[in-house]
Amino acid sequence: AQTVTQSQPEMSVQEAETVTLSCTYDTSESDYYLFWYKQPPSRQMILVIRQEAYKQQNATENRFSVNFQKAAKSFSLKISDSQLGDAAMYFCAYRSLQYNNNDMRFGAGTRLTVKP
């Protein structure tokens, strides 16, 4: 079964600085999707960024980018120019593309604090 590990329970960053959140995963599959979700205090799950495993190019969404290392099974999230509104729990997630086995597997999360 696929597992997702986030080894940093908490991270802190100064406003306007850059922070990187780590995620590793374990799978025997060659094709899958990876996601980062943001969960603010409202506890809503907000999609931040998505990466298809077959793509070598790292996904980017404005201030958010990933460093996807398929061989190392690593999928880190970089937040540039951090803003106070970025403070939240961040969950890394894996999704298989096998038919009838495409539920999301989540990591334990990293709580990001942004200091003014």
Binding site: Y37, R43, L47, A93, D103, M104, G107, A108
Partner: protein, 114 residues
């Protein structure tokens, strides 16, 4: 932009009571999911639903849980006899017909069992 909605936002119930959590997926989506997040823990998959039947379920989804799509828009999760440990945030998600589509999550229902 279309979104997944869930009602109620917060449900309080007594242990042993039945609860129904409601979700309205995005209208042209065909795959539906329920996830659970106990406070302070990771989000866990419960069940997926396609073509009016369960396509996959986790070990958490035991006989006290059931799902239904009673009409063309709603997707419900029923917990027959709630336990204290069922207290959690329950998220509904949906995705389109293409298997590569992203799942979109609703805002969640906070269930508190007293």
């Amino acid at each position: 932009e279309p979104e997944v909605t869930q009602t109620p936002s917060h449900q309080v119930t007594q242990m042993g009571q039945e609860v129904i959590l409601r979700c309205v997926p995005i209208s042209n989506h065909l795959y539906f999911y329920w996830y659970r997040q106990i406070l302070g823990q990771k989000v866990e998959f419960l069940v997926s639903f396609y073509n009016n039947e369960i396509s996959e379920k986790s070990e958490i989804f035991d006989d006290q849980f059931s799902v239904e799509r009673p009409d063309g828009s709603n997707f419900t999760l029923k917990i027959r006899s709630t336990k204290l440990e069922d207290s959690a945030m329950y998220f509904c998600a949906s995705r389109g017909a293409i298997y590569t589509d992203t799942q979109y999550f609703g805002p969640g229902t906070r269930l508190t069992v007293l």
